[in-house]
Symmetry: C2
Subunit: 471 residues, 2 copies
């Protein structure tokens, strides 16, 4: 049974071998800075919703090595002096981060870790694991919310989730705009709304469908949603549901809805709506599920399918069809000196130094551009394209915000815990700052992210030196 009591082991093996190396070299008293950023927007979209910060900080506070973990590492050949160091290990560094729910873009630092090199290195895998996945799913959920519009949508994905990934994913779904989840564990863990209907097995466990519906309605007269496709959606299921709806009316209750889980949802929802309305059951909602995602919901909307609630499973909870956000964690400073990584691919050149990000707003208060700056810079007046130096962007007399804020200093949390609903509201609020050309599902307008002149010069000088002096 999985119990992360030894969170310290939630890491890649090489983090530990490198950490032991730093320690044996006496480097564990040296400070290092790492940036978390990503390179490519998922889902062919124009942005990412940054999520997972609160879970990351929770795990970071719990990140330690219990005796079991130390025994295991000893058996793997780690040295006693290093294991003694790990026994007392706690993260005591600083974390600067965008707010959870912030809209972020490729290449800009989203979160920065300043700490001794051992602590900054050891937390890498856990940081990437939580932030990459939670942000991926929050972003997917925002896309689904975008297409669902005023209609509700619920996360139904637990059964197809990637194991315990379901826990972060269900929370991320709510952050991105889902109204509820079916995942009870996530509901309890994060105090988020639960919902559910019934499965075919409920219907099958009675001799007839009408008995199954009648029994459910008598137990849940005020929250009854009937699944009508077990035997025949229109000819059997809907007919039985109408009978039950009228029986509920007689007792002073109302049927909440019927659910379609197979067949052509556009065709069936129209038929069902028409027949329900003919019976004076305009108030009965239609819930639809079955391999939905933002594209299918858009298609159903274009066909004017009268669906009130979308149940979204596999494609939300796994972030199909991307499955992963490509976020990375790169060293930008060591012992007061700026560092970078060069690559055959110029777009993979990392950014040196302790940095922050300034977001500029246009006159109608929409996001205009993000500038990556060195920490000691203030409002800048011009930024440079990260790869085409001749492309510059003026930033005069504009409102701006600094995106990276201290969330943990010397291991102490500096922000209060937010509940999931607050984060979800912040997401919707920030999305108002994005032009529709950026939020559209495909082929979005590319949002401008640039570098300050000072940062560009620093990058160039180190890259030149490394390439010309043999690394």
């Amino acid at each position: 049974m999985i119990n992360l009591k030894n969170t310290g082991l939630y890491t890649d093996f090489y983090e530990l071998t490198m950490a032991q190396g730093y320690f044996l070299n006496g480097m564990h008293k040296k400070q290092a800075t790492f940036d978390y950023f990503y390179r490519k927007n998922p889902f062919h979209g124009g942005y990412v919703v940054f999520a997972g910060l609160s879970d990351f900080l929770d795990e970071l506070e719990a990140f330690q090595f219990g005796q079991d973990a130390l025994n295991y590492l000893k058996a793997k050949g780690f040295q006693d002096s290093f294991l003694e160091y790990l026994a007392d290990f706690r993260f005591r560094g600083d974390i600067y981060s965008c707010k959870e729910g912030e809209i972020v873009f490729p290449l800009e630092p989203i979160l920065r870790v300043d700490g001794n090199i051992v602590e900054a290195q050891l937390i890498e895998s856990m940081l990437l694991n939580i932030l990459n996945f939670t942000s991926l799913i929050a972003t997917k959920a925002v896309r689904i919310r975008h297409e669902a519009g005023e209609r509700k949508f619920a996360d139904f994905g637990l059964r197809r989730a990637q194991g315990l990934g379901s826990v972060y994913a269900s929370k991320a779904s709510i952050i991105g705009g889902a109204n509820s989840t079916s995942n009870v564990f996530a509901g309890a863990e994060y105090d988020i709304p639960l919902s559910g209907t019934m499965a075919h097995s409920w219907v099958q466990s009675f001799d007839t469908e009408i008995e199954a519906f009648r029994s459910y309605a008598s137990i849940y007269p005020n929250s009854c949603i009937l699944l009508i496709d077990t035997y025949d959606t229109i000819n059997i299921g809907l007919k039985n549901a109408i009978t039950i709806a009228k029986e509920l009316e007689e007792k002073g209750h109302k049927l909440i809805g019927v659910r379609l889980d197979s067949g052509d949802l556009a065709y069936l929802s129209k038929e069902v709506r028409k027949i329900l309305d003919q019976q004076g059951l305009e108030y009965v909602n239609i819930v639809a599920s079955n391999q939905l995602d933002e594209y299918l919901i858009r298609s159903l909307n274009l066909q004017k399918a009268p669906i009130d609630v979308f149940g979204v499973g596999t494609r939300l909870i796994t972030g199909a069809t991307d499955a992963a956000l490509d976020g990375v964690y790169k060293m930008s400073e060591y012992d007061g000196e700026s560092r970078l990584k060069i690559s055959d691919n110029i777009t993979k050149l990392s950014l040196p130094g302790k940095k922050n990000v300034i977001r500029y707003f246009n006159s109608v208060n929409q996001f205009y551009a993000d500038a990556v700056i060195l920490e000691d810079e203030k409002d800048i007046h011009e930024m440079i394209h990260p790869h085409y130096k001749d492309k510059r962007c003026r930033l005069l007399d504009m409102d701006y915000e600094t995106l990276l804020l201290p969330v943990m200093i010397q291991g102490e949390r500096k922000i209060k815990s937010q509940n999931t609903e607050e984060i979800a509201e912040f997401v919707q609020d920030r999305l108002l700052g994005l032009d529709g050309s950026i939020t559209r599902l495909e082929n979005p307008h590319i949002y401008k992210v640039g570098l300050s002149d000072k940062l560009m010069k620093l990058r160039d000088s180190i890259a030149f030196e490394k390439q010309n002096n043999g690394g």
Copy 2:
């Protein structure tokens, strides 16, 4: 922090509302049977490797509702009498299952649950969550093993995994044929081999690359793999690695390998091999990583890239590009009576009754066909195509095996715990029974799965009755 101490909450909300309904109706003393099966092979392939059984049984034994869970459910409106029932809840049913690591095919029952309807219903979400995902990743790993051939491959995916899904996924990678994982938590949890090299941050934390390499080699003289692409793979990294290899030789050690993590892996691996060999360093391995999967490994092999070890990350650990196996859990019997679910789509008609699967072998001991039978049937002589009744397959005088075996009876585990290595060996052994036309990556030969005549007649009679008597 995630701690599944209340495993009972690891479920969809509707399982609990249905369970309460069964309980309030007094149905919790009635027996039900559910089948776990899937419909579509993932990755355009021809089979699935069934995995996750041991984790599922572990979680099942731990499946209960602690006081916290009960308080939460009370706050959600569940009734006291049902909560009292849950307080004492333990799974006491029977599980019949294929062996972990078995090769399985669409539509056939892989695992069967016989229990009272409440227990059989409550475990559905957890069962699907674990078995679907673990089987998906084991299947992906087998495909990668198939292409890697005699070369080693390692799971490097933790940082891009779907949160804690990484734990099952790293184990599943080993089951499918990975030689090791970078995931230390999974290593400790399942006693599976760990491996790792170094990150760019190690190189960056020294003033020069050669110092970084020399330091690592002095700390790990017998397990040193140098990452050579931080500044310039051929002109800087490889040159420095050769210097270190010779220094190690002088001290009686050998450099294990160099790692390529960017650029054109086919071109670079050939250049690196040539230069290493010119220097008498034929023994130094080349490790390659960067968005690898079975297709890229096949392409590298076709180009005769001299790579010794593949590091496979995102695409293995997330099961890209499928992300989920479509396994379902359907009721087939209730209170001694056979049940099924009908669908608009004939291929989604479920199979009624308590069933088993017989696998027939041809004269060279390869899998010939799988027949789904009713439990009281023995070796049958002919099976029928599940959707085209005129298509029949003779099964005379063939060796056969029964696939579903008792693994838990009345809540007690009947099989001893297997270690991951044993399961992995069983997979490789079973794969020998599959013809190459079925194991190829794409457009595989479709393996024959059919029904016994008796099962077909049972399905037809219930489907007829349900459709003609209004469900």
